[in-house]
């Protein structure tokens, strides 16, 4: 069997044993395992490191336990504005997007930017337009709008508006 390694993260913060609700603990671990499985399958099939990191991140973007994709936190104005980047160590080709609102998997949009090769970082409405032109899966903005994240926004705004304790990503 050929050698490969995959490492993932789902965000760092104030999670403490016994304080993080058990359901969140179990859900987070299950999400991590699903992401490792997806990325590992790509590598096992002889796929590139690039394929593997995209596959793993896509799984976590679809998982509401993590602050990315469908699970993203809210901005002050009550929107979900998503950022992502990807980089290939072979050529140091890179792609990144910021403040997109309608692409289901932002990491795949970042990869499209990298593969297009003309730019490295696209943002906002222009990045949303690029995503549509490249035929990526589109969703309505409220696909990302989860009640728990809205509650967190309300809590943070009530407390002065800045999550200095990194309580919510």
């Amino acid at each position: 069997m050929s050698e490969w390694t995959l490492v993932i993260h789902g965000g760092s913060g104030s999670m403490r044993r016994g304080v993080l609700p058990e359901a969140e603990d179990e859900g987070g671990r299950a999400g991590l395992e699903a992401a490792l499985k997806a990325g590992g399958a790509a590598l096992d099939a002889g796929g590139s490191a690039l394929d593997a990191v995209e596959a793993a991140v896509r799984v976590m973007e679809d998982d509401p336990h993590f602050n990315a994709g469908r699970g993203a936190v809210f901005s002050w104005d009550g929107a979900n504005e998503l950022d992502a980047a990807i980089m290939d160590g072979t050529s140091r080709a890179a792609g990144a997007i910021s403040s997109v609102t309608t692409t289901r998997n932002p990491v795949s949009l970042a990869r499209k930017v990298m593969e297009d090769g003309r730019h490295v970082l696209l943002s906002g409405a222009g990045a949303d337009e690029f995503s549509r032109d490249k035929g990526l899966e589109q969703v309505e903005p409220d696909y990302f709008a989860l009640a728990e994240r809205r509650r967190q926004l309300d809590e943070i705004k009530a407390g002065g508006g800045f999550d200095s304790a990194m309580k919510y990503g």
Binding site: E33, V57, T90, L121
Partner: protein
Amino acid sequence: TVGAVAVDAQGHVAAATSTGGLTAKRWGRIGDSPLIGAGTYADDRACATSCTGSGEIFIRAVAAHEIAALVRFGKLGPVDAAGSVIAEIGAMGGKGGVITVGPDGTGGWAFNTPGMYRGILRSGEAPRVAIYDDE
């Protein structure tokens, strides 16, 4: 924020990061995740890194590229380099973590918060996931 780094059977590395950013962010605020070199960086000559945490400080520390530079020029292993940069970020008042992997398969994480959702899988081995800093 979520991220992944990998080295494949050919010894090539890659990194990816994705995030919703900061709760209650204003004015079009963008953190380190989409900034190549700050939150995401990959270079076969060094390592691949994805970051999560106080974006403003990871940007000012150019964290992901700094780890690659420490590997390339400082001859540190990726995880030692990551620890060094997280210590520097802590000294700058920042909190967060990184994951990293080198072309030879050495890899892991460093973080200075009570927890980080993290996992590692190597060919032929069982996956390992963790959340708290004492795991």
